[in-house]
């Protein structure tokens, strides 16, 4: 049984997430095998590109149900980038697209005045102590690449925030559901620590 399974549903570069976990000494596998995903102790939901395309690819493999079921059973889940956005109810991308609805709230596009995508290294302001932030300094820089951001209905879900035209939730944590808008696997030491912390979450 694998400790951490990174859900392979045909989108994006999952190898980098896998090797980032390996660099922190955690065993992680990339898998699109339902059995592996059902047995893993933790799940990582990656995602790049369009929200709608990700959601479609996830549903086609019936992993949307799988993720919902496993979250309900208490399995720790980490959504990364668009994977974090998928945790919410819906996105404004191309009209409106429904997400997994594990967290209440929506995904909105950055204001047109800004340079979009928001790409580069930006700070995460921790809203309070959280296990995900163990050994991660407040206001650490992480690497972001995205054009949409999450707006949780319940503000307390936002564990960390980032400024880009607006101050938005860049880290969410609610019970066993976590999400990060940045790419921890591309954020050097701070990112690797955060992944290690997720691997140790109770």
């Amino acid at each position: 049984m694998s400790q951490i399974a990174i859900i392979d549903y045909g989108v994006g570069n999952l190898r980098s997430v896998e090797k980032a976990f390996a660099a922190t000494g955690c065993e992680a596998v990339v898998s699109g095998d339902e059995r592996v995903l059902r047995e893993a102790q933790r799940l990582v939901l990656p995602g790049v590109g369009a929200f709608g395309a990700c959601m479609k690819a996830l549903s086609e493999r019936r992993f949307d149900r799988l993720v919902r079921e496993r979250v309900k059973d208490g399995t720790p889940l980490l959504g990364v980038c668009v994977g974090m956005q998928l945790l919410f109810e819906e996105s404004d991308e191309f009209g409106s697209t429904p997400g997994l609805g594990l967290l209440r709230g929506r995904v909105k596009r950055f204001n047109g005045e800004l340079v979009v995508p928001h790409v580069g290294w930006n700070r995460v302001y921790q809203r309070g102590p959280h296990e995900l932030f163990a050994d991660v300094g407040d206001e650490s820089f992480f690497y972001f690449v995205h054009s949409y951001y999450c707006e949780p209905e319940d503000e307390s879900v936002a564990a960390g925030e980032t400024d880009y035209g607006v101050r938005y939730a860049s880290v969410v944590a609610h019970k066993n559901i976590c999400g990060v808008q940045f790419h921890p696997e591309k954020s050097q030491a701070a990112g690797l620590r955060l992944l290690r912390n997720f691997a140790r979450l109770n």
Partner: protein, 255 residues
Amino acid sequence: MLAKRIIPCLDVDNGRVVKGIRFVSLVDAGDPVEQGKRYDAEGADELTFLDITASSDKRDIVTDLVRRVADEVFIPFTVGGGLRTVEDIRAILRAGADKITLNTAALEQPELISACAETFGSQCVVVAIDARGRNADDVTRGWEVYTHGGRRNVGIDALEWTIRAQQLGAGEILLTSMDCDGTRNGYDIELTRAVSSAVRIPVIASGGAGRLEHFYEALTDGGASAVLAASLFHFGEFSIAEVKEYLRGRGVTVR
């Protein structure tokens, strides 16, 4: 506040990092895997790998090399050179690249930009533009786009092409001044400013860095989101940390 990015670039020819001066006279500058590892450790904000061999029959070798570099870095990794189809790009992304750059192929088939943006997202599509002034003594004459290592004038205005690339779905522009590249006399600030004010997507300034203030000028006067340099870092004139310390001292936000 978004940090300005410092990006070392590996120009790779036949598996080795090389550095040319004005796109010619190549000098060996080491092993790409070792160089990538070193820059990651030194605090580079991103790593760019440009395959300048770019012959299609060597694609598999390049893909393997990309994979080996990607395995060693935990920062964003951009790969370009000779990518002509969505399938070429898919293979490079699967090997561990986060973004790809399109140059000649984008000029020959602009719809490739849209196809990539739709398939993989704009965030991973960097359009590389090599530009040269129409008249070195008169910037008001503007800049034209070149290909084939600066040997071929495409006859397209650099600003028009930048705007078009953005419309087609480019997520970033990697702008190289053919006039300044390899000279170490500084980035082309006029060109960088003109391009960065013409589009809303990030512009990476490239070509000409020789002194610390050059980075500062490109990021402030030039309006660039990031600065790219190759030989300056490869041969150890400046470390990434030195550049950042200097910029921080002058009030630029860096990681």
